[in-house]
Symmetry: C2
Subunit: 270 residues, 2 copies
């Protein structure tokens, strides 16, 4: 069995899609075998879990309901989506957003003023990523000098078996066009991970991040100063094993295997 | 009057949109005042002209016809659009393209085999830049390992008075998603400028490039080893005067002013 380095793991920051469940555009997806039991197992053994997701296709309440229907059991507050981080940022900075996001995530921004926008929020807008909408946000950023907030820099995800463009490439394209970096509310932003471990009252050396995105989940976690574990589920491909930029602290077949490793690892300290 | 440095100018590489004419989506656009006479004036004074354009919304023949209707007078062969450079590259490398380009430019690729594509050509596809089409090219590059050819890296242009996204941001977004650099057939690719001055049988120190794009035209030309002049027409904005990366060899009000400067400059050597 592979080994984890570092001290005992008191908290797990866990990606959702590709780790807990495989994604689908038409239904809730399916749980990845063993992942429901893995979460129960970890919590029973005193390892806290927070779900750091770049999911920006639905509200947190909807995402939570989906996970419950799949058989998972966690409080809604344990899920940390980027929309809520963005909303907090918008409120703190007195911003009025123009939204190019998935229609399902609009309720998360419902109570914000959107007149005369002075910022743009870009989420995983899927079919709304069209030339007209992209030109609208481009002009707001470039000509009206609106602040540019992105709900993540993930490159792609796997949905219904196909790789599908995430919000990251559209963020990168607009950054290139405008010569301006986006404020990223979501992985791989360091603040986003930090909010995760702080919400569990833990320090960086006490937590591990697990995800299927070698760059955004694993590389992002490592840059934020925590251990990053890659699962061989979700959008993982074998090329990730020898990535030229990111070397995971551990690569495991799935979340169930990681839960076993963490529990065994923690026992070596007791 | 501002002065040009360097030796006599025997050839001008001239951008089209924003230098010869202002662009419009609905008609041929309008000539920029003085530009028709400037070209006549330059040629009468022995300065050869080639038109290096990233225009990828129509065939060369159509673009030439538009310019003639506006009152310009040049042979079709003097116009160098990226589609023809891409076609040459595709033929040389025995590639079969999947095209995401403007429908009007399709005739330029008519005689190429497109079965079982092993490369993607991305042009200024305007309304065809939608989520479905972008996912298709993303999967071809990422999963089928197709070569990625882009018809330019221009960020935006001005059309009907508005800044509008060019092919560059979509290229940058797909490069980010795929972790793979595009082969750029068009400005600011060095080979593209070089083909321009070589077609006039001139060397790099004998030519000047003029354009309204501080990065792609002026910066690109300078990186290719030739003088780069910025015009205060087209998509120029006053912020370009103090750009943090590119310092033009000269900034002029328009092409007419540049023609006068070049002719006067050349006389100092006679």
């Amino acid at each position: 069995m592979s080994l984890l380095c570092g001290g005992p793991v008191k908290g797990l920051l866990c990606d959702i899609t590709g780790v807990l469940r495989e994604s689908s555009s038409t239904d809730d997806g399916i749980p990845i075998p063993g992942s429901i039991e893995a979460i129960t197992n970890l919590e029973k053994n005193g390892v806290k879990c927070k779900y750091v997701t770049n999911e920006s296709q639905c509200t947190r309440a909807d995402l939570h309901a989906k996970l419950l229907r799949l058989g998972f059991c966690m409080p809604e507050e344990s899920i940390m989506p980027p929309a809520l981080a963005a909303k907090q940022y918008i409120k703190q900075n007195n911003l009025r957003p123009h939204l190019l996001v998935h229609p399902n995530v609009l309720p998360d921004f419902e109570d914000l003023s959107k007149d005369d926008p002075n910022c743009v929020v870009l989420g995983d807008a899927v079919d709304l990523f069209n030339y007209e909408n992209l030109n609208t946000v481009f002009r707001l950023i470039k000509e009206k000098n609106c602040e540019f907030i992105s709900l993540g820099k993930g490159k792609y995800y796997r949905e219904d078996g196909s790789l599908t463009l995430d919000v990251g490439p559209f963020t990168a394209g607009l950054e290139f066009a405008c010569g301006k970096e986006a404020v990223v509310c979501g992985k791989p932003d360091k603040q986003f991970f930090k909010a995760g471990w702080e919400s569990m009252n833990l320090s960086c050396e006490e937590v591990v991040m697990v995800g299927d995105d070698i760059i955004s989940d694993v590389g992002g976690a490592q840059k934020a100063g925590i251990r990053g574990v890659l699962v061989r589920t979700g959008k993982y491909t074998s090329a990730d094993e020898n990535h030229d930029q990111v070397k995971p602290d551990l690569i495991v077949d799935n979340l169930a295997a990681l839960a076993d490793i963490i529990i065994a690892h923690n026992k070596t300290f007791s």
